[in-house]
């Protein structure tokens, strides 16, 4: 047994987290910053955090992930990290020549109380930021929220710094994509294009963390939202923000700073969330929904009805981030599956509220927990108590999957033992087809592997 000490006996915990279902803010800030063109993320703290965050993202994408660090010493930890950051800014612009440096803090610099805004202002005064280049900063202490919070904070920082309302309305819609994969970003852009909605997607990690093999390395790949585009977001007609945890802050900032109103919607996972996204897009872009989109939806529904028998009543345990768990749960219920255990380490009261709204009619008995001590250990204990037919979550689920013999579909962050997430989206109707395909594959592989020989099926 890989997790040989996990028993079904749940004891109340107040202080100990075991096998977390979240990680820390800066990794989210780093990922968001990669979605801006020409941007070099910078971790203001000891070099360990930066090394861990880069490694985590690199393993997930199998792509270069560049970021620098303030490399704190004991001295900077006591007297503050201003000197380190000033020197770092100078070095980064001289050696690595980015357009933008996106600084995020760490637990260490936050605990010390470094004021990033003041340090960056000083860097500017001291002439350490070359003409036409930018340093954007976000406060991302990991003892608040989770990796998702860091993503939201960095995104907010970008629009706060760049977006500008020049009072000339541009016929375009801002899309805040939430923490999704580059494949999803591409898919969002594809859908918007079919809908003929002019848009700016922020961030956009496609063509950044899914670059082609060319024999040449580009430190700043061609993808990413450009400065010009982010500036112009201040002139857009409106914003569609996907996922409250990741995108709401930036949407509010755009509203407050540039008077661009926003619509809050879920990340477009599954049928209904995709429907809402499409409708939001149609309203915001003042366009009608083209037949091609209805056909995509139709193909999804066709597949669902075809395969319903394999999904009906299946018990599922899932863990991950609120923004993806909420629409995913809704999708599973629409498929008549039973998402019985749902866990997220990311705090936020809205999670339970949203979940109970979604679950109350069809599956009120589902166990849902988020925030402190809502971890994979607890979820595993629930599974020990009464098993499930399917697991959906990040790679760490493979230990539970093997111990319990449960089919497993990888979704979320990080996925470090399989490929595909960079290339095949899970958002939109096409994305839902992929989720379905993955779930059916896992469930049916188990049937094929375990069914008695006499009832082994050729056609399924």
């Amino acid at each position: 047994m890989l997790l040989r000490h996990t028993t079904k006996e749940v004891k109340e915990r107040k202080a100990l987290t075991v096998n977390p279902a979240k990680t820390c803010q800066p990794v989210g800030a780093m990922y968001a910053a990669l979605g801006v063109h020409g941007c070099l993320p910078h971790s203001h703290g000891s070099q360990g955090c930066c090394s861990y965050h880069r490694s985590a993202l690199t393993r997930h994408y199998k792509e270069p992930v560049m970021a620098a660090t303030s490399s704190f010493t004991e001295g900077s930890s006591v007297f503050g990290g201003q000197a380190n950051l000033l020197q770092a800014i100078d070095n980064m612009f001289t050696i690595y020549e980015p357009e933008i440096v996106a600084v995020h803090s760490t637990c260490l610099s936050e605990t010390i109380g470094d004021d990033l805004g003041q340090i960056v202002a000083k860097a500017k005064d001291d002439g350490k930021i070359p003409e036409g280049k930018h340093v954007v900063q976000a406060s991302t202490p990991s003892y608040v929220g989770s990796h998702v919070t860091g993503y939201a904070n960095m995104l907010e920082a970008f629009v706060k710094y760049f977006a500008f309302n020049t009072n000339e309305k541009v016929r375009q819609v801002n899309l805040l994509s939430g923490w999704v994969e580059p494949s999803d970003m591409r898919e969002i852009k594809r859908i918007a294009e079919i809908m003929k909605v002019q848009n700016i997607l922020l961030p956009d990690t496609s063509d950044v963390v899914d670059t082609p093999m060319t024999g040449k390395y580009e430190m700043y790949p061609k993808g990413g939202t450009t400065v010009k585009e982010i500036v112009s977001m201040g002139n857009s007609m409106s914003t569609i923000a996907m996922g409250e945890w990741c995108s709401k802050k930036a949407a509010i900032m755009l509203d407050n700073k540039c008077k661009v109103p926003f619509t809050m919607t879920d990340v477009a996972i599954g049928i209904k969330a995709s429907d809402r996204f499409i409708q939001a897009l149609s309203t915001a872009g003042k366009v009608s929904i083209p037949e091609a989109i209805s056909e995509e939806r139709g193909r999804l529904l066709d597949m669902v009805t075809d395969m319903h028998q394999y999904l009906y009543g299946k018990r599922v345990a899932l863990w991950g981030d609120p923004d993806t768990l909420i629409p995913l749960t809704e999708f599973l219920l629409d498929l008549d599956m039973k998402p019985v255990y749902i866990v997220s380490g990311t705090p936020g009261k809205r999670f339970e509220k949203r979940m109970s709204e979604i679950l109350c009619n069809k599956l009120p008995e589902a166990k849902v927990k988020n925030g402190p001590q809502a971890d994979m250990f607890l979820m595993h204990q629930w599974i020990k108590e009464e098993s499930v037919d399917l697991l959906i979550g990040n790679t760490y689920g493979k230990y539970i999957a093997r111990d319990e013999g449960v089919p497993f579909v990888r979704m979320g962050f990080p996925i470090i033992d399989r490929v595909g997430h960079s290339y095949f989206p899970t958002v939109g109707y096409q994305g839902a087809i992929r989720i379905l395909e993955k779930m059916l594959g896992a469930i049916m592989d188990k049937i094929d592997a375990t069914t008695p020989e006499e009832s082994f099926e050729l056609v399924m």
Binding site: L3, R4, K11, K14, A15, L16, T17, V18, N19, P20, T23, C24, G45, Q47, G48, C49, S51, Y52, R54, S55, A56, T58, R59, P64, V65, M66, A67, T69, S71, F72, T73, E74, G75, S76, S77, N84, L85, Q87, A88, I89, D90, N91, M92, I95, Y96, C107, L108, T111, S142, Y143, V144, T211, M213, T214, G215, Y217, G345, P372, Q373, F377
Partner: protein
């Protein structure tokens, strides 16, 4: 088409490259980096700047003290709950990411698949986290009933004044199990290296010597600085078993705290990774009189040499005969594979920037294949790992090193091995050497470029200049280098392959080089139309 330099008459002088690299840096940075890059001359005693703080803003390979302490040294030990005191991230990233294999018996404890954290929140930072830590320890004890708990401090802990050692003492008294803390906050040292030292101190202080177990074998040894990445330690264990040497404990691949506790009953300590573990070896010698020798089980030749060194130490005919028998048999297998692969990779160029010993040890494997190491360096080693242990007295003690407690070790009168001290003295007369690490530089070719703490900019320039056939580094470098069309072999994680230690490992490594270097896949990178003249014409159906 990549045009290669001609290396048949030795390596080219890379001074020009070095200047080009430095030219990009701001003056202060250039001054510092110049000392960390040495154009090697094995005949000279050259000095390299190592274990020096990374300059802020530089994209470095290095990690932190915590990573060295929790991740490297204690991570591979299975019968202990490693509780990380801090915000969630530090614990999350060190969760199962280092591939230390372990083989618990049925029913034995194994906590390595778990991540434990106090997941500090805002209020813990403001009001202190000691109470939460205590509560977490109680909860862990309550649920898992471990025999030991280690507490690892991450960056904020020291600053807010939490005293993990006091908490450990208190909880040890309350729960009656072994509990000890590490002040391994990330900023404490230059790199992971400080964490190794802190971990060594902690284990020595709180564990080693706790169990004065009776002897169980005729020849008892510990293997130190072997972390069982990809099963390396298993390969070595297999040989020890066959030759009749009892391996009491490995620091710390496939290890247990239980075995650390009686590891002081060994007759000899064999040190693989000098950087990460020499402290314990030194302290064991001071306290118990157990001598240590440097060994290396990477490469078939080095493995044979190390086994002979082991046999010579015990001076037992039967053991020596057994060792020779194993070497002869295994060598035949190794040679059979090398004979096939060597012609395919001979003369190819390698460079390696990794760790605190592997950038040195792996050169042996490349040599066996007839490949040339043109440039190498460590991520977190010290001058002695480059220049040899004789420079230790000359190394400046800086503020970072002073941060780490220097344990005062006293002789343990009851368990001190006078017999081993005598044995050592006698062997030394015959030319047998103890604690003899010569470092990487004397073994590298003239004009090879030795670089400490290589960074991203330097990596780019190195690739441009040398156009290597294989680059060895870690996960953060992997895909950068490969985008250039140069295959990268990870020498931390082995790219999820291995084992590469000992004879079986050498065979695996040769085959891996064949896979990476004899493939045609890179030739497909350019699309066929890239090299053809563009098709011109008009776009009509009958054109």
């Amino acid at each position: 088409m990549v045009i290669k330099k001609d290396y048949t008459n030795g390596l080219p002088d890379p001074s020009e490259l070095k200047n080009e690299i430095l030219a990009k840096y701001p003056r202060k940075v250039a001054k510092k980096r110049a000392k960390a890059m040495v154009v090697n001359d094995p005949e000279e005693q050259q000095e390299i700047a190592a274990n020096i703080r990374t300059i802020p803003g530089i994209i470095t390979q290095r990690g932190c003290t915590y990573a060295g302490c929790k991740g490297v040294v204690l991570g591979p030990t299975r019968d202990i709950i490693n509780l990380v005191h801090g915000p969630i991230g530090c614990s999350f990233y060190a969760w199962l990411t280092r591939r230390n294999q372990t083989r618990p018996t049925e029913g034995e404890e194994n906590f390595m698949t778990y991540a434990f954290s106090t997941d500090m929140q805002d209020e813990n930072i403001v009001f202190g986290g000691e109470e939460k830590l205590k509560e977490a320890i109680r909860e862990a004890f309550d649920m898992f009933k471990p025999k030991s708990i280690g507490i690892f401090s991450t960056c904020p802990v020291g600053l807010i004044g939490d005293d993990v050692h006091a908490v450990a003492r208190e909880m040890k008294a309350e729960l009656g199990i072994n509990i000890f803390g590490f002040s391994c906050e990330g900023y404490r040292g230059v790199s992971q290296s400080a964490g190794h030292h802190i971990a060594n101190n902690g284990i020595f202080k709180h564990v080693v010597g706790n169990d004065n177990r009776e002897r169980t074998g005729k020849f008892q040894v510990n293997l130190m600085g072997e972390y069982n990445i990809g099963g390396d330690a298993f390969e070595i264990e297999r040989i020890f078993e066959e030759i009749g040497v009892t391996l009491l404990s490995t620091y710390s691949g496939n290890s247990t705290v239980e075995s650390f506790a009686y590891s002081h009953t060994a007759d000899l300590n064999m040190v693989m990774c000098h950087r990460s573990i020499n402290y314990i070896a030194e302290m064991m010698e001071e306290k118990y009189g157990i001598p240590w020798v440097k060994v290396n089980f990477i490469g078939a030749e080095s493995t044979a040499k190390s086994l002979r060194k082991l046999a010579d130490y015990f001076g037992d005919k039967e053991l020596s005969a057994k060792v020779e028998e194993v070497i002869k048999r295994e060598y035949a297998k190794v040679k059979a594979v090398a004979d096939v692969i060597r012609p395919k990779v001979e003369g190819k160029l390698a460079m390696m920037f990794v760790g605190g010993s592997r950038a040195h040890h792996y050169q042996d494997l490349f040599n066996e294949l007839g490949m040339k190491t043109v440039s190498a360096g460590y991520e977190f080693a010290h001058r002695d790992d480059y220049e040899g242990r004789e420079v230790i007295p000359d190394i400046k003690i800086d503020a970072d090193t002073r941060n780490i407690e220097d344990l005062v070790v006293e002789k343990d009168e009851t368990h001190y091995r006078e017999d081993l001290v005598k044995k050592k003295a006698e062997l030394e007369k015959t030319g047998y050497t103890f604690k003899d690490y010569q470092g990487m530089m004397p073994e590298m070719k003239k004009n090879s470029l030795v670089i400490d703490d290589v960074n991203h900019w330097e990596t780019e320039k190195l690739i441009e200049f040398y156009k290597p056939d294989v680059f060895c580094a870690g996960i953060k470098e992997k895909y950068v280098v490969q985008k250039y069309g140069v295959p990268l072999k990870q020498l931390h994680s082995y790219d999820y392959g291995g084992p590469y230690a000992a004879f079986g490992g050498a065979i695996n490594f040769y085959k891996e080089m064949e896979r990476m270097l004899a493939t045609d896949i890179w030739k497909l990178v350019d699309a066929p139309w890239k090299h053809e003249p563009e098709i011109v014409g008009c776009v009509t159906a009958d054109a």
